[in-house]
Structures are given as structure tokens and as C-alpha cells.
């Protein structure tokens, strides 16, 4: 009898559960829709291919930078090294190219260094739990300091590298870049590809499931033979790699190496993750949510710019919106209900 009940229930809940389970996703979609409608009504030129292109381009950078932040949040960590790795990669790449490395080799070197920093991050911090974010901050400082020292040697510049950016790199991530003749920069496609792949990996592979397991309960995961050490190391390495990639792609956008390009990503990645609905305590959420968070954040910014708000005002508005948005779907239970 129980089994028949169960059978029907499995059938019945299939449809209903995703919505209930992904409350944050549906709220995110609504929010995004509202913002788009508002933009269309209030800002002339908001609904235009150019604006869509620029929103997607800026979103792509933020989205790529937020990959690592999302994965880290899923195990209850925060990666504060992201802006520093982005900045470091952004100056290291041109400086290696000036030093004579062919572009692909230079890019691989930068990517590997990003992974290395990330791996150290994960390996050293998995035991720290609550303090892990400081470890990543420390390594970020160290890494960017080292890169800046390297790039300043024999140059009068600190934190900037002036070197011609190859045309193909420019095409990848500049506004007027073309994707096989289509009028948008390929970095948008790169982002979309990574997002889809990551979403699939998270749900359909052992790695993805283990990641959620570690985030949900470290000890329970350990009992299943899931190595917390491995998971932390891998996700931080991915974070390092994605940050390095973002830094390199940003070079095509900014036209020259500048260590500060990463700065805005310190807290915006966290904001994107949080607005998307991934819990910073681990175990719940996902990159799909972050993609929504990124889009909401970027569209909102674009809307605010269109409404003529200055940068400080935009920042204040985004800040003000975070608490109510998170309050809609991620309020922590009252302590009465936690006993």
C-alpha cells in the first residue's frame, strides 16, 4: 500500500517540486522581468541590440568571475582572492608577452598560475572553515604583490603594463568584437558555454554531488569517502582558473594591463551569488542561480545608469536591494526553530 502511495506521489510531485524548491530562481526571474519592463518603460534605447550586447558583455565578465565564488559558497567558503587573481592575470599576461612568450604559451602560464594560487588556497584553507576567506585574502595579497613586483622590475610602472593587445584578444571581449561574423563579442558565448556545462556537471556528476554533500555536512560526506580536501582544492583551483581567465579576457576589454581591473569583483561576485540565492553557508544553491544574480545585477545597474544615477547612487541602491531580496527567500530560521 505504501508503495502505491509512493508511486503516485513521485509522479505528482515531479511537476510541483522544482518551483517550490527553486523559489529563489522563480523570484529571480520575476525580478529580472520587472527590471527589463521598467527599463523598457523608463529608459529610451534600453531595449536595443546595443544595450543587450553591452549588458551581456559586462554580465559575462561578472559571470565568469562569479563561477569560483559560487562553488566556494556552496561549501561555505568565500574566495576573496578573486579580484587579486583577476588583476594579477591582467598585468601578467601582457608582461609575459612583452617578455617574448607567444600568446598561447603566456595564457597557459597565467592560467596555470591562477590554478596554482587557487589550489594553495583550497589546500591550506579547508581546515579553517570560518577563517578560510582570510586565507584566500592573504594568498590574494601575496600573489598580486608578487606579480606586481615582477611586472615592475625593469619598468617604471607599478600595477600597470603597457603593451599592445593582440587583435584576436581584443575581438574576444571588446564591444565591437564579432562572433563568426555575428555582432557580439565571443566572450558572451564563452560564458554561456561555461554556464551550461557547469550546470550540467553540478547535477549529473559525482563531483557536483560531492560538492553539495561537503557543503551540507562535512562529516557525513567524509563517511561516504568524499574527500573534503580534494573538493576544496578543486573548487578553489577552478576559482583561480576562472579568475585568471577573466583577468585575461578583461585585457581585451581594457586595452592594457591594469591591476585594479579586478577590484570591482571583490564584493560584486559575492553580491551576485547572494542575489541569485546561493546560501553563503554552503549546501544549497548553484551556478544557475548565480547566472540570474549576475543578470539581475547587471540589468539593474544598466537601468540605474539609464535613469541618470551616478555611480555612488547606483552602488547605494544595489546595496539597499540586497537585504530585501535575500529576505524574500533566504531568511535564516528563528533560533526557536533551530533547537
Amino acid at each position: 500500500m505504501i508503495s502505491t502511495v509512493l508511486n503516485t506521489e513521485i509522479g505528482a510531485t515531479r511537476g510541483a517540486s522544482p518551483l517550490r524548491k527553486h523559489k529563489s530562481i522563480s523570484i529571480g526571474f520575476c525580478l529580472l522581468a520587472c527590471l527589463l519592463i521598467l527599463g523598457a518603460l523608463l529608459v529610451p534605447g534600453f531595449v536595443s541590440p546595443q544595450n543587450a550586447r553591452s549588458i551581456l558583455l559586462l554580465a559575462a565578465f561578472l559571470g565568469l568571475a562569479s563561477v569560483g565564488q559560487t562553488l566556494c559558497a556552496l561549501v561555505g567558503a568565500l574566495d576573496l582572492s578573486i579580484p587579486y587573481i583577476i588583476g594579477g592575470a591582467n598585468i601578467l599576461l601582457p608582461s609575459l608577452m612583452v617578455a617574448g612568450l607567444p600568446a598561447p604559451v603566456a595564457m597557459i602560464v597565467v592560467l596555470l598560475l591562477g590554478i596554482l594560487v587557487g589550489a594553495c588556497n583550497g589546500a591550506l584553507s579547508f581546515r579553517l572553515q570560518g577563517q578560510a576567506l582570510i586565507m584566500s585574502l592573504g594568498l590574494g595579497f601575496a600573489a598580486v604583490g608578487a606579480v606586481q613586483i615582477y611586472t615592475s622590475l625593469g619598468s617604471q610602472f607599478g600595477g600597470t603594463v603597457f603593451a599592445p593587445v593582440p587583435g584576436w584578444l581584443r575581438n574576444l571581449s571588446a564591444f565591437n568584437g564579432k562572433f563568426f561574423g555575428l555582432p557580439f563579442p565571443p566572450v558572451i558565448v564563452i560564458w554561456a558555454f561555461i554556464a551550461v556545462a557547469l550546470g550540467w556537471i553540478m547535477h549529473n556528476t559525482w563531483f557536483g554531488r560531492s560538492l553539495y554533500a561537503v557543503g551540507g555536512s562535512r562529516t557525513a560526506a567524509a563517511r561516504l569517502g568524499i574527500s573534503e580536501f580534494k573538493i576544496w582544492t578543486v573548487i578553489h583551483s577552478v576559482s583561480g582558473a576562472m579568475s585568471a581567465l577573466t583577468g585575461m579576457l578583461l585585457l581585451g576589454f581594457s586595452g592594457g594591463g591594469f591591476v585594479g581591473v579586478g577590484d570591482p569583483y571583490l564584493f560584486t561576485t559575492v553580491a551576485a551569488v547572494v542575489i541569485g540565492g546561493t546560501s553563503l553557508l554552503g549546501g544549497a544553491g548553484g551556478y544557475g542561480a548565480t547566472v540570474l544574480g549576475v543578470l539581475v545585477l547587471t540589468v539593474l545597474t544598466s537601468l540605474l545608469v539609464g535613469l541618470g544615477l551616478s555611480f555612488p547612487a547606483q552602488q547605494a541602491v544595489v546595496g539597499l536591494l540586497i537585504v530585501p531580496m535575500v529576505a524574500i527567500y533566504a531568511r535564516s530560521p528563528h533560533i526557536r526553530n533551530q533547537i
Binding site: G45, Q156, G158, T160, F175, N176, F258, V259, G260, V261
Partner: protein, 364 residues
């Protein structure tokens, strides 16, 4: 007192000026250094990330310091860099004083934040020289172009160039830093005289090409409106230019402050604009400050608190003379006035109570 003591043709330079620039008499009129040459100099720079700072530092390390060493005037230069953090710069300056430097050069910082520290140095017998921007402390000596005049002239030039009407984007430097504010204020005042010109946006380029490029790109991407001209401060015009090139929009006039990269683009597209302005020639400004410092240490007695230079326009011919046909669009150099074209010694002499050749080797 102060500026009033200057000859009339120099006084003229002070007519259009940022009202905050201190114009009184120098506190170092009767200054005697703690000890004789060779002196130890501190250079407390607030930033090292742009073409301009690089050129200025290069001027110190590879031109002024060797020459001064040879003349027995300076023994060493201690350089620090604070990454735009006031508290760090304050600490660095205090440490320089405590370590016994004989003078400190600072660059274009926050106009008030360092004042207490400058007073601290003064009390320890260490004069502070602020170049390419002013500080309000009575105990500092400022030396720079008249950035207010520059802002006004560049704005007026741009307004004329775009036919006295249209939308202008203003790319300022680092808001709150002396020369940046002087420039913006005067530029806006000048544009306000044209009722058909509208400033449709203001972004901060941080005097760094890469930052300016990103900021302008973002602005252009999120603001579909027509832009008719861009008024930018110096050491970032190439970033602004690249942003325009990348946006796919038609090129518009952009103000030029001497970056060789943007000047190169002009050389290759002579029709683009018709004038540039020496408003921040890094090597010349550094040299000017260095000489003022030497003279002060030598006891020549500076008359004024602030040494301003007039902004000099330059033409495509000047550009052709200083950079080659096959110039580098990515150059990090500057097109600058001739060595004695900025602060000639004949003029400099007029600013001191007891003028003499600052470079004269000291008799042992």
C-alpha cells in the same frame, strides 16, 4: 606679498586660478637647510600606475639625480609609493623625516590630508615640495601648471572645435586630488558659457589609460546617446581614444595633454584635431620642482608658496618634430616642451629672493 612680488608678466599667469591654491608668501624665505650638500631627498609618490608617474620618476632617477650627484648637491633619493592611501603616505613621509632626509617631494595628493604631516616636516626643518598639484598647507611649496587655466583653455578649445554645441563627456582624473579638481572646475565653468553644450556624463579615468578606457567604454555602452566631444584630463587620453575606437562610433574631438600614443594617432590623422596642450608635461614639471627644491635648499629664498606655469598649446608640427612618422600607438612617452621651454632660469630667478644658478657645483 607672495604673488604680488612677482613681475607683471608672471603675475598674469595667476589671474585665472583655482581659488584654493595658496598664493601667499613662502614660509621658506629665510630657510637654511639643517646641513649642507649633498642632500638626501625623499620622493613620496602616491601612485605608480600611469605613464605620467613613470616619466616623472624616470626624470628623477635618470636625469636629475645623476646630474645633481655630479654637482655634489644630492647624495640619494628615497622613493616610496602609497597606492593612493593617505594614511600610508603620511606614515611614509613621517618616516622620511625621522630618517633625516633634507627635503621631501610629494605628488598631487589630497589637498588637505597631508597638511599636518607637512607641518611636522617643517618643524623638523624639512621643506615639502608638492608638484603637479597643490596642497593647502602654508609649509609646502607647490609647483605646477596652472591647471585651472588649462581646464578652461582646453574646454574652450573643445567647444569651438565642436561648433559650440553638442554633448560632451567629461573624463576627470582622480576626484579630490588637487590638479584634477582645479581642472574640472575651470573646465565646467568654461563650458557653462556655451548654452548649447551639455555635459552628458562624467567619469573618473584615474589618470590611467586602462581605467579611462574601461570607464569610457562602459559609459558609451550604457548610454546610447550621441557624444560630440570628449574633454579629458591628461595621462589618460589614449585610453579614451581607444574606447572610442572600440565602440564603433565615429571619432569625435578629444582633448590632448601630451601622451605620445594619442599624439601618434593625431600625427596619422592630422584632420582629427587642431591643437594639444602641454598641461602636464611630467619631466618638465618634475624638473621645475627639482630646481625649486635645490634653490630653496641652497637658501635662495622662494618668494611664493605656489609656482604656477602657463599652459602651452602645441600643434601638429610640434608633434611631427618630436615623434617620427612611424610612431608607436602604444607608446608610454610624452610629447613635452623643450628642456628650458617650461621654467627657464631667467624666469625662475624672478621667483627667488637671492637667485643664483641652482646647478652650480658647490665649492668644497
Amino acid at each position: 606679498d607672495g604673488v604680488d612680488q612677482l613681475p607683471p608678466n608672471e603675475k598674469k599667469i595667476y589671474e585665472v586660478v583655482d581659488p584654493q591654491v595658496p598664493l601667499g608668501a613662502s614660509a621658506y624665505k629665510d630657510f637654511k637647510p639643517k646641513k649642507g650638500p649633498p642632500w638626501k631627498i625623499g620622493y613620496a609618490s602616491s601612485y605608480a600606475g600611469n605613464t605620467w608617474r613613470a616619466a616623472a620618476l624616470d626624470a628623477v632617477m635618470n636625469d636629475l639625480l645623476p646630474r645633481s650627484k655630479e654637482a655634489g648637491l644630492v647624495s640619494e633619493v628615497v622613493v616610496t609609493q602609497s597606492d593612493l592611501k593617505d594614511a600610508v603616505q603620511i606614515q611614509q613621509m613621517r618616516q622620511m623625516v625621522d630618517d633625516g632626509v633634507d627635503a621631501i617631494i610629494i605628488c598631487c595628493s589630497n589637498v588637505t590630508a597631508l597638511n599636518q604631516t607637512i607641518e611636522y616636516a617643517y618643524k623638523a626643518g624639512v621643506p615639502v615640495f608638492s608638484f603637479s598639484g597643490y596642497v593647502t598647507s602654508p609649509y609646502a611649496i607647490n609647483g605646477a601648471a596652472n591647471h585651472a587655466q588649462g581646464g578652461g583653455e582646453m574646454a574652450t578649445w573643445l567647444a569651438d572645435k565642436i561648433g559650440k554645441k553638442g554633448n560632451v563627456l567629461l573624463v576627470s582624473g582622480i576626484p579630490g586630488f588637487a590638479s584634477s579638481d582645479s581642472f574640472d572646475k575651470a573646465a565646467k565653468d568654461a563650458l557653462a558659457k556655451y548654452p548649447d553644450i551639455k555635459i552628458v556624463g562624467e567619469v573618473a579615468g584615474k589618470w590611467t589609460d586602462q581605467v579611462a578606457q574601461v570607464e569610457v567604454q562602459k559609459f558609451l555602452a550604457t548610454n546610447p546617446i550621441q557624444i560630440d566631444g570628449i574633454l579629458t584630463q591628461g595621462a589618460q587620453e589614449n585610453g579614451v581614444l581607444n574606447a572610442m575606437l572600440q565602440s564603433g562610433r565615429d571619432m569625435v574631438p578629444i582633448t590632448l595633454g601630451g601622451e605620445a600614443s594619442a599624439a601618434c594617432y593625431w600625427r596619422q590623422n592630422p584632420e582629427w584635431v587642431d591643437a594639444g596642450f602641454h598641461i602636464w608635461p611630467p619631466r618638465r614639471e618634475m624638473q621645475q620642482m627639482w630646481e625649486i627644491m635645490l634653490r630653496t635648499l641652497e637658501g635662495q629664498g622662494p618668494k611664493v608658496q605656489s609656482f604656477l606655469r602657463p599652459v602651452l598649446p602645441f600643434t601638429i608640427d610640434d608633434v611631427r618634430a618630436s615623434i617620427p612618422e612611424d610612431c608607436d600607438l602604444n607608446s608610454t612617452d610624452f610629447v613635452e616642451p623643450k628642456a628650458d621651454g617650461w621654467f627657464p632660469s631667467a624666469i625662475a630667478d624672478q621667483y627667488f629672493e637671492r637667485p643664483a644658478d641652482p646647478w652650480k657645483p658647490v665649492a668644497k
